[in-house]
């Protein structure tokens, strides 16, 4: 068959080369005329004119009331044609929808087609289609139903899915298989765009899987592939079915209709193989069920046709993914060999791809084919070459690194594709950092990368490079040599042609010269200054780069020679419009003339190791609390903000925005409080000026160094706090001591904005907040990864793998650079375990490490104030402020929580002398169901009350569920009839577990307590979760009574320890993708801070501490009925560097928030 096609098609060019033969396209057709007209035109300009004319005429006709539907159909086809050529015909969209709605079946078909081509899912006009689709789904005409389902499977507005879902579901039982198949595919589409909507019909998917029509069954496999990818463990019971189906397909049991070039249902086979590989991964017993059918597939697929190769390739992948079986591996290896050696270039490509996939498990296979690989490396086809490089990248080690990197760089030199350049640049850097054979090679290679990749480079490359340089590794001698080499090469680069260097490289050069040019003997600072100065004149030199250059110059400016350079510069650029530049020039000039001050502000680099960084920015506490006192809104991390937004809608006890002073609001809260709460808050409102509630705590907790936004460093934003600090520079500076050790002098707090919340001050505050906390979201996964290889972990500043023997414990106290190797290969799980997966979690500039804090690339505007104040730990400056700031903050939170609950009840209720809300006074514990006694539970909290009923609740944690136990105490004499509780929550799934005496109508007798239990399952993790409810019953006088209430829960209520072995942990780690990294406060006063901190987390948040080795610990937990969340902790410079991973994107962020809170509470 295909031969026929190919022959026909190859014979065609002769036909086509001549002008369209007369009679082919209908001459009467307007479309034909248009198309022919366009083909005859030669210039783009003429074409544009013609089409515009055409569009005008179409527009005229579609809006005319006299146009019939048939004409409309014709017009629509012409409009589609114009759109295809790239001319917008948006005026016709609405008419396409109209056509689908009003036309006859055939018009409809064109209308639907036009809609699916014109509009995408998010287009608002699609809403107008919903009714039409609904109508057609109900049509008795099968073809109309088909059309509706087809359009639904392509474009449908997400929000409107519920409207048609029941109808589509119903179609799953339709007698016609084509309708069933299209319905399944429509559901697949729904699953992709809104998985939650179709959760309830999983059982129907199973039915589709068992459909007697193979077409319907294979359509359902699309859904299964998605679901299995997400959660393989839930579908293990289906393995037998999948295997049986595959066996039948391979055995040729399907109708011949499904054959493709006499291969039975290849698409179906491949889909099944994929599902099986996911199910058999890391699961021996499941894998064993598949061996036979895989063997069979390999054996059957022997015909020499592309489609059989496609099946073979998939088979090989599956065999290498599931639990290995020697016999199958052997066959698969032979298969790969056939691919690689094939003269057909497509197969060779696939062979290389397969080799890349398996090489980590079977390096020998690459060895066997080394000659072929070498040939491919010089292949004329760049795609083959690129694939070969990918393979080489996977097999790089200490010995072959030079060659492979050379090959990669060679490719990089000729690459014109930005995407490839960035990708390969990252790969070369990774290899160079991991395997560099010597220092000069490393510097040379990195120079080439900086030059070739230029400014598109991923920002973490220069970052980790500088980090490596500053922190060093192994011996101090080598470090010095490395720095010397870097300085040498940069000096010569600057002497040659600095104008050609990319910005990022210039930044790196400036920093290195500023820091380390003293390493080179005989290199005068003034010489370096003269080398750097011309960079300021370069036109393409960005303001950011200039800041780097000037920062470097400032560090070096000692001696009269430098002063003269500084003055020259000041004269030349003094009139610059760039205020940052002028400011820095001014600093430079000032410091160059005052050696004493310079030494104090920028101590020599010897003291770098002892620098401590206050990542909590506690030195800003004073500033923050003053700002707060002046009425600024406390800072909240984004997730919290969202939560509170929701709360604020219900309750207005939180201070609104900026206008309402905090003290006022807290006292007004207090006025409405019950006595117990009042007493608690009175102490608090007393020192309301010191109050830095959530703002203070959040500020302390969130690391601040994430100044990298999506677009890179936010230089301008970061400037503001410096400038604020600058107004009192001499004063601030005076308390800094030499050597960077923490000064003991009580510090003058940072200048606060002028008293009285003027508009200007507020804007500044907003800017401060936005620049300090911008980009707090977790960064996306780094590096593209090929064919399911474990995501290549960036090894940051770990360069060599020499000290293999030295365990991770034998590290120098300050650094972490020399930790032992960690290979991403699954086979070296042992080594990965030793390290506790120690790929330094803090490589992307999220933590200020000792040495690079001031000048790290993340901090690319290392200005005077920056390098002077922030790296030096000013925490001890505020020994009294700190706890003071913390305590009220906790109290405040409790306060607001309590107010939340009482607020709802306050309506028309007098405060009793004995607080009737106090749940403990109601003695509820005896009413707790027996089976729940002894389980961990929260305190009893009041929900609501009215004249006769008091509702309280507590949350009980069992191993597999979280239960909300609601106590309804009826203190009156008469029974409350028809009592009912309703609860809803956006974040939680609430289901009743066991109730009072009756199911439907319930009565709460006088002087009794009824207990209701609800099981809570989070639908998505968030920091706080709110449960809204309503209690309704009939009062004795028959009047219906209804009281709303709410109950707040937090994430830890739904976190359970996850017990895994270290090995399992390693596997899980590689399987999870959503990263969050952060520095946490360490309980440093404890004898074993790491252990103490982890145990605190364990106790507070129910985490399981899997293992602690030396300065690292791994912790695992699990969301209730949800995925695991893994945490890797490492001691780093006096704080706990944690790296969280989970398959659920929000989970790490939320958990981190609670970790911070758990550690902040003393």
């Amino acid at each position: 068959m295909s031969d026929v096609v190919e022959r026909t098609l190859t014979a065609l060019p002769s036909l086509l080369s001549s002008d369209p033969s007369p009679g082919r396209p209908s001459s009467t057709s307007k479309l034909g005329t248009l198309i022919r007209g366009i083909t005859e035109l030669t210039s783009k300009h003429d074409e544009e004119k013609l089409i515009q004319r055409e569009l005008v005429s179409i527009k005229e006709q579609v809006s005319s009331p006299n146009t019939t539907m048939r004409q409309m159909k014709e017009l629509m086809v012409r409009a589609v044609y114009c759109e295809m050529l790239g001319y917008e015909a948006s005026f016709s969209y609405i008419h396409a929808i109209k056509l689908a709605q009003q036309g006859t079946a055939l018009d409809k078909r064109v209308g639907y087609l036009a809609v699916s081509l014109f509009l995408n899912e998010s287009h608002e006009l699609l809403l107008l289609l919903v009714n039409t689709v609904l109508k057609d789904l109900q049509s008795t005409n099968l073809i109309e139903v088909c059309m509706a389902l087809t359009v639904v499977g392509q474009v449908f507005p997400k929000d409107m899915i519920p409207a048609i879902l029941p109808m589509v579901e119903e179609k799953l039982n339709h007698p016609k298989e084509i309708i069933r198949r299209k319905a399944v595919l429509a559901l697949y589409k729904f699953y992709l765009i809104a998985p939650n909507q179709v959760q309830h019909i999983h059982s129907k998917f199973r039915k589709a899987l068992c459909d007697k029509d193979p077409g319907v069954m294979s359509a359902s496999l699309h859904i299964y592939l998605e679901m299995v990818t997400e959660k393989p463990e839930s579908y293990k019971d289906l393995v037998v079915s999948f295997v049986t189906i595959l066996k039948q397909v391979v055995g040729g049991k399907l109708p011949i209709d499904f054959n493709y070039h006499s291969v039975p249902a290849p698409w179906l086979q491949i889909q099944l193989l994929r599902i099986l590989s996911l199910l058999g991964k890391n699961d021996r017993s499941t894998s064993e069920m598949m061996y036979e059918v895989l063997d069979e597939s390999l054996r059957r697929a022997e015909m020499n046709h592309n489609i059989t190769y496609a099946i073979l390739f998939e088979c090989v992948k599956t065999i290498y993914t599931i639990h290995p079986k020697a016999e199958l591996l052997e066959k698969a290896a032979k298969c790969i060999g056939n691919f690689v050696l094939s003269p057909k270039i497509n197969l060779k490509y696939l062979g290389l791809k397969a080799l890349t996939y398996v090489v980590q498990q079977d390096a020998n296979l690459a060895l066997q084919h080394q000659m072929t690989i070498i040939e491919c490396l010089d292949h004329s086809d760049l795609i083959i070459k690129r694939e070969t490089l990918e393979l080489l990248f996977r097999i790089t080690n200490g010995q072959n690194v030079k060659v492979i990197v050379e090959k990669l760089l060679e490719f990089l030199r000729h690459s014109k594709d930005d995407y490839v350049t960035i990708d390969l640049g990252g790969k070369v850097t990774e290899l160079a950092e991991k395997y560099a054979p010597d220092n000069s090679w490393f510097i040379r290679t990195m120079n080439t990368v900086f030059l070739l990749v230029g400014d598109q480079m991923q920002p973490d490359i220069p970052n980790s490079f500088l980090r490596l340089l500053s922190e060093g590794f192994e011996s101090a001698e080598e470090d010095q040599q490395l720095r010397l080499l870097a300085v040498d090469s940069y000096v010569s680069l600057l002497q040659e042609q600095p104008a050609r260097l990319p910005q990022r490289f210039l930044q790196v050069i400036s920093w290195v010269l500023g820091e380390y040019s003293s390493v080179k003997e005989g290199l005068e600072p003034a010489t370096v200054l003269r080398l750097l100065a011309p960079l300021l004149d370069l036109r393409h030199c960005s303001s950011e780069t200039k800041s780097w250059v000037l920062a470097a110059m400032t560090k070096l400016s000692a001696g009269p020679a430098c002063l003269s350079v500084a003055q020259e510069l000041a004269e030349r650029h003094g009139g610059s419009l760039d205020t940052t530049l002028r400011q820095k020039l001014h600093e430079l000039q000032h410091l160059a003339s005052d050696a004493e001050l310079l030494r104090r502000v920028l101590p020599c680099s010897d003291g770098l190791e002892s620098l401590e960084v206050d990542s909590s920015l506690s030195f800003l506490d004073g500033f923050v609390s003053e700002a707060l006192a002046a009425g600024a809104a406390p800072y909240k991390p984004p997730h919290q903000r969202q939560e509170e937004l929701a709360q604020e809608k219900a309750l207005s006890v939180e201070p609104y925005g900026l206008s309402l002073p905090l003290s006022l609001s807290s006292s007004s809260i207090a006025g409405r409080l019950s006595p117990t709460v009042l007493s608690m808050s009175s102490g608090l409102s007393g020192n309301s000026t010191e109050l830095s509630p959530k703002g203070g705590s959040a500020l302390r907790l969130e690391g601040v160094t994430r100044v990298w936004g999506k677009e890179g460093y936010l230089a301008k934003a970061a400037l503001k706090p410096e400038e604020a600090a600058k107004t009192e520079v001499p004063c601030t500076l005076s308390v800094l001591q030499e050597g960077g050790s923490a000064p003991r002098t009580p510090v003058v707090s940072l200048p606060a904005p002028a008293p009285g919340p003027s508009l200007q001050a507020e804007r500044e505050k907003q800017q401060l907040a936005s620049c300090l906390f911008v980009g707090l979201g977790s960064q996306g996964a780094a590096g593209p990864c090929l064919m399911g290889k474990a995501e290549p972990t960036r090894h940051g500043f770990r360069k060599k793998v020499k000290g293999q023997g030295s365990s991770s414990g034998a590290r120098e106290p300050s650094g972490d650079s020399a930790s032992s190797s960690h290979s991403p290969s699954p086979l070296s799980a042992q080594s990965a375990m030793d390290n506790l997966l120690c790929s330094s979690p803090l490589d992307s500039g999220s933590t200020p490490s000792p040495a690079d804090s001031a000048p790290s690339p993340a901090d690319s505007a290392p200005s005077l104030a920056d390098s002077a104040t922030s790296p030096v730990d000013p925490a001890p400056h505020l020994p009294h402020d700190l706890p003071a700031n913390n305590r009220p903050c906790d109290a405040q939170e409790d306060l607001t929580e309590d107010t939340d609950t009482s607020e709802t009840v306050v309506e028309g209720n007098s405060v009793a002398v004995v607080d009737p809300y106090d749940p403990e006074s109601l003695c509820l514990s005896p009413h707790l169901p027996e089976e729940l006694c002894g389980l961990p539970r929260s305190e009893f909290r009041p929900l609501c009350r009215d004249a006769s009923l008091v509702l309280s609740a507590c949350c009980v944690r069992t191993d597999h569920s979280s239960l909300l136990v609601v106590f309804v105490s009826n203190a009156s004499d008469s029974a409350a009839r028809g009592f009912a509780l309703q609860m809803t929550s956006g974040d939680l799934e609430v289901s009743r577990v066991r109730g009072g005496p009756e199911e439907e109508e319930e009565h709460v007798e006088g002087h009794s307590v009824a207990v209701y239990q609800y099981s809570l399952v989070p639908t998505r993790p968030s920091v706080h979760m709110e449960l809204a409810g309503r209690a309704s019953y009939q009062r004795p006088d028959g009047e219906p009574q209804s009281t709303p209430f709410s109950y707040g829960l937090s994430l830890p209520d739904f976190i359970r320890p996850l017990s895994v072995s270290t090995e399992e942990y390693g596997r899980l780690w590689l399987a999870s993708s959503n990263d969050t990294k952060q520095n946490l406060a360490l309980l440093s006063q404890e004898p074993d801070p790491l252990r103490a901190t982890l145990h605190r987390l364990r106790d507070r948040l129910q985490l399981n501490v899997v293992d602690i080795i030396a300065s690292e610990g791994i912790v695992a937990c699990q969301l209730l009925q949800g995925p695991p969340c893994l945490m890797h902790c490492r001691l780093n410079a006096g704080c706990l560097a944690v790296w969280l991973r989970s398959s659920l994107p929000e989970l790490p962020d939320c958990l981190l928030y609670h970790c911070q809170r758990a550690l902040a509470q003393h």
């Binding site: 068959m1 295909s2 096609v5 026909t8 190859t10 065609l12 060019p13 086509l16 009679g23 396209p25 209908s26 009467t28 057709s29 034909g32 198309i35 048939r70 014709e74 589609v80 295809m84 790239g86 006859t104 078909r109 064109v110 087609l113 699916s116 081509l117 995408n120 899912e121 099968l142 073809i143 088909c146 059309m147 087809t150 499977g153 198949r181 595919l185 589409k189 992709l192 077409g215 209709d257 290849p266 698409w267 179906l268 491949i270 489609i307 190769y309 496609a310 390739f313 998939e314 270039i345 497509n346 060779k348 490509y349 696939l350 086809d381 795609i383 083959i384 995407y419 593209p784 064919m787």
Partner: protein, 156 residues
């Protein structure tokens, strides 16, 4: 999962475009430009696969027409090649000795066939007979329709 399918001539003229994932107009134009440039620049005896951003592009030339399909990185390239081939077979069955002109002048038919074969970026129906039957059934609807612009027998 497939992302888009483009059909264009040797001169780089677009004949058909189908987007399986929502793509902004600007991006579409850029992709079309990139694809025609990249595919047309390929030399003979090179493989039928390309990289584009993080996608794989599988292309094949049939007579004067290039068929170009973008798939996810982890998809099977050979299988994608067969998808293109099956589409050509379907067109051939419908038009009978299909040529570029058939697709130019009856592009909406080509879309109809495509919609029966692929949907939402996945293969919907691989059986040639079933797809043909389905298209035929829909075409039957027009029996009573004497459209003059619509002309199936464009060639003899």
């Amino acid at each position: 999962m497939m992302h888009f399918l483009l059909l264009f001539s040797r001169q780089g003229r677009l004949r058909l475009q189908k987007w399986f994932t929502p793509t902004p107009e600007r991006e579409k134009k850029k992709i079309i430009r990139d694809m025609t440039a990249m595919v047309l620049a390929r030399k003979p005896k090179t493989c039928n696969f390309l990289h584009w951003m993080d996608l794989k592009v599988v292309y094949k030339r049939y007579a004067s027409l290039f068929f170009c399909l973008a798939i996810d990185d982890q998809e099977n390239e050979l299988l994608a090649l067969e998808i293109l081939h099956r589409y050509v077979e379907l067109l051939d069955k419908y038009f009978g000795n299909v040529c570029e002109l058939d697709i130019i002048f009856n592009f909406e038919k080509a879309y109809f066939i495509l919609d029966e074969f692929l949907i939402g970026g996945e293969v919907q129906e691989t059986s040639k007979q079933t797809v043909a039957r389905c298209i035929e059934a829909s075409d039957m609807l027009q029996e009573d329709d004497n459209s003059d612009w619509y002309d199936v027998e464009l060639f003899g």
